[in-house]
Subunit: 296 residues, 2 copies
DNA sequence: CCACTCGTTCTTTTAAACAGAACGAAATAC
DNA sequence: GTATTTCGTTCTGTTTAAAAGAACGAGTGG
């Protein structure tokens, strides 16, 4: 199987943005025929025409637009690589840059950062985002520490350290109406609409295994990666939610929501991820004291 | 200026992951010498050694690790392109995939999606993340609609449509202790620690302009891109916050926080961003009815 | 209709990539 | 300690991919 040829893809990228093969060739400092040939080769490799030939005009096909999107990402990453290596600057003062996964409980985050909060000599920058993006920021040295509820994959070349900070049990929770009276856990899981975490969250695989074990085909009303959103949807009666009870503490106390049962064997763990560096940000030491590194 | 050679980068990528040049060459079905030469050429192009030669072992340098991170992203995008075009399956049932910027008020999100919530024939998938990532998902057709409080840049090749959904005024808000008595807005901005939105949020540029106009150098305690986090930090008395009052509605009602003053000329706008498509998700039509497209 | 422009295809030329041999250094086995 | 094996580098000659240039057909504008 031939690999994707990025040289061909670059020519395609230029033509797609330029909208004209001749001008693109000029910008690339090559002949028309070279560009025409390479695009044809790329089309053969991908198995689809990337342009619709209308007269002398090239119109992007749907496949062409998909290819263009990926090409945009690819060449942006290439440019970023050149820029990053072209301007490496050293670390500034006492700033802690935190990348915080959006699904994390805000109360948990505040608690973790408490030792640094309010210090005059410390500025905290908090960015929220998805794990992949935050880890990219960590490795590119834009972020000092990532707070997450997913432990990222590790391989030999991965320079980060994952620290276990806390963990939370997980329960089935819903409005009294939806839960009904004396209902069994398995019956509820099988019959009621559910609000599930999305497939890339840490609980979901455990959940899917549970559904398999119970031979249940869940009726999914919503899949959400953000705990605060799960809480609100549960309050709306959209479905039964599967979350750590602490997320809906207030609602449980006011009886707006009820906890059916804890799901044994499931828990949500919170992690802090840092980069193994020769000169780590000194602010990290205090924060991570006593928090164990995750094994293997 | 020579472009980045992705063929060289692929060889580097394989060696970096394999940790051994000979095995990498075998996996690539080429000779050692071919791989050795191409990596040397890449090092020359980037201006840094990517490996430290320790005996016969190759150890990634810092530059090498940066390059590897980008290479990972690049070749993942390439593989995704091949997969996407290799298995183009038609649109399934009625699923709405929402990409939601983490900074957005959850109450606002629920309100916007209300027409679809609870429908048996509709499944809602909600992913939160940073705008760039969400827009990438939009263009890759993984997301049907992005909810954000930043209007993304537009250029001629950009296929998305930005709809204005709502806007909120912005105020200076803090604990009664921090606000003090009869204090003037400008004095507070100049003297008190502040919790500001991060530089890539829509309010920040307006804020920086305001500080410039008032010749104020803000004492920044924290920069945060997530409104819910701003609310909690304000409650902790970390500093005065600059947010839409609706974010801290409960705290204003209970007098845990007080509103000093609205910042005239500043507002937070909420946007829904969709892709201009020949066959848009039918669920979008109802959601966006009456929401004006943003002018170029 | 004619002149010009654009993209495609083909053949030849050019440049990049590769294989294989030789080599030096490091690692391993005895 | 010595002999053998393994690994990565460098060089030269060969192979392959990319490019140039010519010819051509179709489309566009005057």
């Amino acid at each position: 199987m031939a690999e994707l040829n990025f040289h061909h893809l670059r020519y395609f990228h230029m033509v797609a943005h330029e909208g004209n093969l001749t001008r693109a060739a000029q910008r690339l400092n090559v002949s028309q025929s070279a560009v025409s040939t390479q695009i044809r080769l790329l089309e053969e490799r991908l198995g689809y025409p990337l342009f619709e030939r209308r007269g002398r005009t090239l119109i992007l096909t749907e496949a062409g637009r998909i290819a263009l999107d990926h090409a945009d990402a690819i060449f942006a990453a290439g440019d970023e690589l050149l820029n990053t290596l072209g301007e490496r600057h050293s670390r500034q003062r006492q700033v802690l840059r935190v990348g915080s996964q959006a699904t994390l409980s805000r109360n948990f985050q505040i608690g973790f950062l408490q030792p640094l909060i309010g210090r005059d000599d410390v500025e905290i920058v908090i960015r929220s985002g998805a794990l992949g993006e935050l880890l990219a920021g960590l490795e590119a040295h834009r972020i000092d520490i990532v707070l997450a509820n997913i432990a990222p994959q590790r391989d030999a070349a991965t320079p980060w350290i994952t620290h276990t900070i806390a963990d939370q049990p997980v329960s089935l929770i819903g409005t009294p109406e939806l839960v009904g009276k004396a209902a069994q856990l398995e019956t509820l899981l099988a019959e009621r609409p559910l609000i599930l975490p999305t497939i890339d969250t840490s609980i979901r695989s455990g959940l899917d295994a549970l559904f398999n074990r119970l031979a249940i085909r869940p009726k999914i009303a919503a899949e959400v990666d953000d705990m605060a959103m799960i809480r609100l949807l549960a309050r709306e009666g959209v479905g039964l939610a599967i979350v750590p009870p602490i997320v809906v503490k207030d609602e449980l106390e006011s009886a707006a929501l009820v906890e059916v049962e804890r799901l044994s064997g499931l828990e949500e763990i919170f992690y802090a991820i840092t980069l193994r560096r020769r000169f780590p940000n000194p602010l990290l030491a205090g924060l991570l004291q006593g928090k164990p590194e995750q094994a293997g």
